[in-house]
């Protein structure tokens, strides 16, 4: 990881918004926006997520890091996922992505993952909270390539099995990435419910999406 990305990560972990702003301003002066996102913001957020996964930082820092990045990028570059900021919008072959909380009332995991995706320049449809039936309908209608599912409660995590069965019939090419606390306590769970991938921290999401995208080609 570059020195700048490490510096950004450390500014984020200490919630030092001013330092983070300076680093991003310096980078945007010399680099294209997409490059800033790819070389600085994404690695910094990935490392924060990874550090949390290992007990090296706290969820409040993960959340605040994402919040600060999102705010600063908006301030410096405009909404990174808006079509108008075309320098930032990833290539046309980027997959159609959606994120959802499945039959659960806990939205924070989804928010954090969405922020990481957005700050890394990926546009993601936010489906909010959905039941299996409504979700399948939306996925089919929007022709979603990769669906990110967050759950916090075990019964909700187990409902992914029903989701996978339905998607298998109605949208067989849609790939599903699951995440959330129950998967962190049972490493067999994601396979048991038939998901295509699991993310144990929000920082993994961009890498997973890329891997699934490569696999689909």
């Amino acid at each position: 990881m570059s020195i700048q990305a490490a510096a950004l990560r450390d500014a984020l972990l200490t919630l030092n918004r001013i330092r983070a702003l300076q680093l991003l301003q310096a980078a945007t002066a010399t680099m294209a926006p997409l490059k800033v996102v790819e070389d600085l913001v994404r690695p910094a957020l990935e490392q924060v997520g990874d550090l949390w996964d290992r007990g090296g930082c706290a969820l409040s820092q993960v959340y605040m890091s994402g919040r600060i990045c999102e705010e600063l990028l908006d301030q410096l570059l405009g909404d990174p996922t808006r079509p108008s900021s075309s320098d930032l919008t990833p290539a046309a072959d980027s997959p159609r992505l959606a994120i959802v909380v499945l039959e659960d009332y806990h939205l924070l995991g989804k928010q954090i993952v969405r922020t990481v995706m957005r700050s890394s320049g990926h546009s993601v449809r936010d489906y909010g909270r959905q039941t299996v039936d409504d979700l399948v309908e939306k996925v089919c209608f929007d022709e979603i390539d990769i669906l990110l599912v967050s759950t916090l409660m075990l019964p909700a995590a187990l409902r992914v099995e029903a989701l996978m069965r339905r998607l298998g019939d109605e949208a067989p090419s849609t790939r599903v990435v699951v995440g959330g606390a129950p998967y962190r306590f049972d490493d067999r769970l994601w396979r048991e419910v038939g998901a295509h991938a699991v993310g144990l921290n929000a920082g993994e999401v961009v890498g997973l999406v890329e891997q699934l995208q490569r696999g689909a080609r």
């Binding site: 490392q47 550090l51 090296g56 075990l154 187990l158 994601w190 696999g215």
Partner: protein, 417 residues
């Protein structure tokens, strides 16, 4: 071979263990809640609507699993019901809090804590407590529950809004804490008055998985100290499967007698770090337990006992403070049987050699883990790098940096060839 010791009542057993001595056997603080509904053949919402059913369910489960406590916990959001919130029930798990009851942060200025006697849900819990106290006459510890003032706002405001409040609006945060503290003390002491012998103080937000140690020291820690001091019974501080090793010294100084610990941490290290200061309970993985065989249950019980039971100061329990609905009865029975079989003091089977080995194995790792956590928590520029690298090194063969580790691990987490 040493003699087995005279049988104790559950109360004597738990008090001895919490006093850092060896009782006749390791206490089993199994904490089933929802299984009571299954035991009585009623839906979960019906079960929790009737205090007599919950009391009966607890007594029947104790008969079946022979554990050492009765547990009057219904579900977490019963407390936010008292503040005007709702709970949403489902038939295959615990109910969850509905929409946050505070949507405008400024409303905290006008908020006042509810009275316990005005809250029908809390009154039901108190009634269950009284029924159990009358039935058992002090031989079995009755454990009540209070959600910590520092953790309750996740349900009062929603998690995101609460984190924003904590970071951006300390004035309102402080006010909310004062209200929640008053409520928490009143609620805990009402349970003690109704017959609870101990209060399980759920505070996962204080865990180092949730907030960094510096923030905990400014917030969750003084709050816990103030509240615990006012509760008129011993308190078990539960991190609800959040991690606590980096802050173990501070957890030990909250005034709590017991600490509920996570399966994500090394129990031997936790024990070493807390020995003689705060007793531990845990740390069986309730979620994974769903598919344990009897043999796996036995192995897990043995491993936990070997790591933390010698010398006392330990009770066997799950790591969250509630057994998931999906865990089969047979697994709970296998856990109880394994504890009955292997948990008799003196724990001769954990012989000296094995114990010494466990201690030796624990030391270097414990140092690394503690360094990782504290380095990362102070999060100085240089420290964080070191922390990430140390952590990475443990998971790879070579000298790949943390990002390489992360990629390697995600590779193992997809079905993409």
């Amino acid at each position: 071979m040493s003699q087995t010791r005279p049988a104790m009542t559950s109360m004597q057993r738990v008090l001895t263990a919490v006093g850092h001595q060896e009782p006749d056997r390791v206490p089993l603080l199994l904490l089933p809640t929802l299984h009571g509904a299954r035991e009585l053949g009623v839906p979960i919402d019906t079960y929790f609507s009737d205090p007599a059913l919950v009391a009966q369910g607890q007594l029947r489960m104790r008969q079946r699993y022979r554990h050492d406590c009765l547990y009057t916990f219904y579900y977490a959001s019963i407390e936010t019901e008292a503040w005007g919130g709702e709970s949403i029930f489902r038939d295959d798990g615990p109910p969850n809090a509905g929409a946050p009851l505070i949507s405008d942060l400024e409303a905290i200025q006008r908020l006042s804590p509810p009275r316990i006697e005005d809250a029908p849900g809390l009154r039901r819990v108190l009634e269950t407590t009284r029924l159990l106290a009358a039935e058992t006459g002090g031989e079995v510890p009755i454990i009540g529950v209070a959600i910590a003032p520092f953790s309750l706002p996740v349900m009062q405001l929603g998690f995101e809004a609460y984190l924003d409040l904590m970071h951006d609006r300390r004035d309102l945060f402080d006010r909310l804490m004062r209200l929640n503290e008053a409520f928490c003390v009143a609620w805990a002491n009402a349970q003690v008055a109704a017959g609870a012998h101990a209060i399980c103080y759920f505070d996962p937000l204080s865990s180092s998985s949730m907030v960094p140690p510096e923030l905990f020291l400014e917030t969750g820690h003084p709050i816990a100290q103030r509240v615990i001091q006012q509760i008129k019974a011993p308190v078990a501080l539960h991190l609800a499967s959040g991690e606590g090793l980096p802050i173990i010294d501070h957890l030990a100084s909250t005034g709590a007698a017991l600490l509920g610990v996570s399966c994500h941490e090394d129990l031997g290290q936790l024990k070493q770090a807390s020995r003689g200061r705060i007793a531990l309970f845990g740390h069986l993985n309730g979620i994974e337990m769903r598919h344990w065989s009897a043999e796996q249950a036995e192995q897990q019980v043995k491993a936990a006992l070997a790591a933390a039971a010698p010398g006392g100061g330990f009770a066997l329990a799950d790591n969250h403070g509630e057994i998931p609905w999906q865990v089969p009865e047979e697994v709970l029975l296998a856990i109880a049987e394994a504890n009955e079989r292997w948990g008799r003091y003196p724990l001769d089977w954990c012989d000296e050699a094995a114990r010494a080995e466990a201690l030796r194995a624990g030391v270097p790792e414990s140092d690394t883990a503690a360094e990782t956590a504290s380095a990362a928590d102070t999060a100085g520029a240089a420290d964080t790098d070191a922390a990430a690298d140390t952590a990475g090194a443990a998971n790879t063969d070579g000298d790949a940096g943390p990002l390489a580790v992360s990629a390697a691990r995600s590779a193992a987490r997809t079905d993409v060839p």
